[in-house]
């Protein structure tokens, strides 16, 4: 049971990173990214490609960050010519194209088969210690990311993002470089997501294109919306809550005596139902955005 809880906690932290990353884009920069999962994929594939070329995990994370920055730059480039709604669809399309590419190019990282046997980060430690160390790493990463996001969004940079979201035209007329602001936000968010993907790859020990289906993106969206977009703590709470609810679906299934194939459906219902409920009754999420407050030019 403890091991199971540790597992759920690790997954909650990794999703927390993804949710923080998406929230930075959606809640602060107004970037409606529907391709979030591919930024996570940059991290998993960085780990997988480094591993399959006998390079160490340092090369893996470096590769993951490079991929993430490239994809973020591509997303930002798309944004120059497209309105926010079309941009969202374009990110979804890019993510799908890259997933299909990963699925079909066997030379890249095993194609549809993926890459297995990626070493655990703390594999040489005895059984209960390894996962606990991984959990420690995940918690540290999540806290570091939270701190970073908090620092960013309460600084002058955060004010610039807020102004850009509130009145883009006016912000531009005051000399804010909107394209640069969006690109920078995307880059930071992409690196956070890639870090999550990298740790995930070394925890699950397997990387494949099926981990990059767009329903993952929408799961992260649900976490952000339920937690409260525009609030870092909200994004983390949303992720943790969803992960723990998910974890207990099988127990509920057993209690109700339902067959196992209902688990996935119940989870999906939880995501969809939860999302709808929040969109209808509590659009600000569990922890609403902090409005106003002290701002300095």
């Amino acid at each position: 049971m403890v091991e199971f809880l540790v597992h759920v906690a690790i997954m909650a932290c990794l999703y927390g990173l993804l949710s923080l990353s998406l929230n930075l884009q959606v809640g602060f920069a107004g970037l409606v990214n529907f391709g979030q999962v591919i930024l996570f994929g940059c991290g998993t594939y960085g780990a997988a490609i480094a591993f399959s070329h006998q390079l160490g995990p340092v090369a893996g994370i470096a590769l993951g960050i490079v991929f993430a920055v490239i994809v973020a730059a591509a997303f930002a480039r798309l944004g120059r010519n497209l309105g926010a709604d079309y941009w969202g669809i374009a990110t979804l399309a890019v993510a799908e194209v890259l997933r299909i590419l990963a699925n079909n190019e066997a030379w890249l990282a095993g194609g549809a088969q993926g890459v297995g046997g990626i070493p655990l980060l703390f594999g040489d430690m005895p059984r209960p210690m390894g996962p606990l160390m991984t959990l420690g790493l995940c918690v540290a990463l999540l806290l570091a990311a939270w701190w970073l996001c908090q620092r960013l969004t309460t600084s002058r940079y955060g004010l610039a993002l807020k102004l850009m979201r509130e009145e883009p035209q006016l912000a531009a007329s005051l000399g804010y470089d909107l394209a640069a602001l969006k690109t920078q936000t995307l880059m930071v968010a992409a690196v956070l997501a890639a870090a999550s993907g990298f740790v995930f790859a070394h925890y699950i020990t397997f990387v494949g294109p099926d981990q990059l289906v767009s329903s993952e993106t929408f799961l992260i969206w649900a976490m952000v919306i339920i937690g409260g977009s525009g609030n870092h703590l909200g994004a983390i709470v949303g992720a943790i809550l969803m992960q723990f609810l998910f974890a207990f679906v099988p127990f509920v299934k057993d209690a109700l005596g339902l067959p196992s194939e209902h688990v996935a459906a119940m989870r999906l219902t939880l995501v969809g139902g939860g999302l709808l409920a929040f969109l209808i009754w509590r659009t600000q999420g569990l922890i609403p955005e902090h409005v106003g407050g002290k701002q300095n030019g």
């Binding site: 102004l163 006016l170 007329s173 000399g175």
Partner: protein
């Protein structure tokens, strides 16, 4: 100071909204751009500022072609201040924070000195420094957006309909403030206006746009007396002199 040479511009793949515009504005004068709704006044101002890239022709400031210079560069170097037509204050920020946004590229000491000067100049803002901009009246917002553009002492000031939606009294106050800026600073000021006759009262020269071209241009005093202007702007009333068709007064 500003020279617009044969500029053509439009949005996306759309048609040319501006079809070969020529305009000049010197330091120490107010030039106002007039014309019916949707004729491209704002587009012209955005083109001068750099939000809209000209498809042809060039925009020059201080003798340099700035058609391809990004807006933020002109702001950073205090070349230009721009106030858009609507939503020209950040309503969730205080009056003071709004003004300080215009001073981001100034040394702190200079910024604070300028701020104090502006507060002395605009007492209506001084008494509301800590209020949220959303709590201001329409006229106070216009003054606020002016103050924000002025704090960095730009050489060129571009204002899109500073009198829009104001009562006649407030409009008078805003125009007076603009004229005072010209007289005191010798800035080059270009405004877009719908209220033609009121605007001509303070402007030095004006350009009237129609169908993407300059239909009438001249000194404000002359335009005020121009029957073609009366015809254009006092829609209901018959023109004073019927013999002259509208738009015939270019040069």
């Amino acid at each position: 100071m500003i020279s617009v040479n044969n500029v053509r511009a439009g949005y996306g793949d759309g048609p040319d909204i501006l079809q070969g515009i020529n305009l000049n504005a010197a330091g120490g004068e107010i030039v106002t751009i007039l014309g019916p709704n949707g004729c491209g006044k704002s587009t012209l101002l955005k083109c001068i500022a750099g939000f809209v890239r000209p498809r042809g022709g060039a925009v020059e400031m201080e003798g340099c072609d700035v058609s391809a210079v990004p807006v933020h560069d002109k702001i950073r170097h205090h070349l230009m201040g721009f106030v858009p037509q609507t939503d020209n204050v950040f309503s969730t920020l205080s009056v003071a924070d709004n003004i300080m946004l215009g001073a981001r590229y100034m040394p702190a000491a200079e910024r604070n000195a300028r701020y104090a000067e502006l507060m002395a100049q605009y007492p209506s803002l001084a008494s509301k420094q800590e209020r949220k901009a959303s709590a201001l009246s329409g006229g106070e917002r216009q003054i606020l957006s002016l103050a924000r553009a002025l704090i960095s002492k730009p050489r060129v000031l571009l204002l899109d309909e500073p009198s829009a939606g104001l009562s006649p009294m407030m409009m008078h106050e805003v125009f007076a403030a603009i004229a005072e800026i010209r007289d005191r600073t010798g800035m080059c000021i270009v405004t877009v206006e719908q209220n033609a006759f009121e605007a001509l009262g303070v402007a030095d020269r004006a350009y009237v746009l129609s169908l993407g071209k300059v239909a009438i241009e001249g000194r404000a005093a002359d335009l005020l007396a121009d029957p073609a202007m009366r015809h254009l702007y006092l829609g209901g009333k018959p023109p004073v002199v019927e013999s002259r068709p509208p738009f015939a007064a270019v040069n």
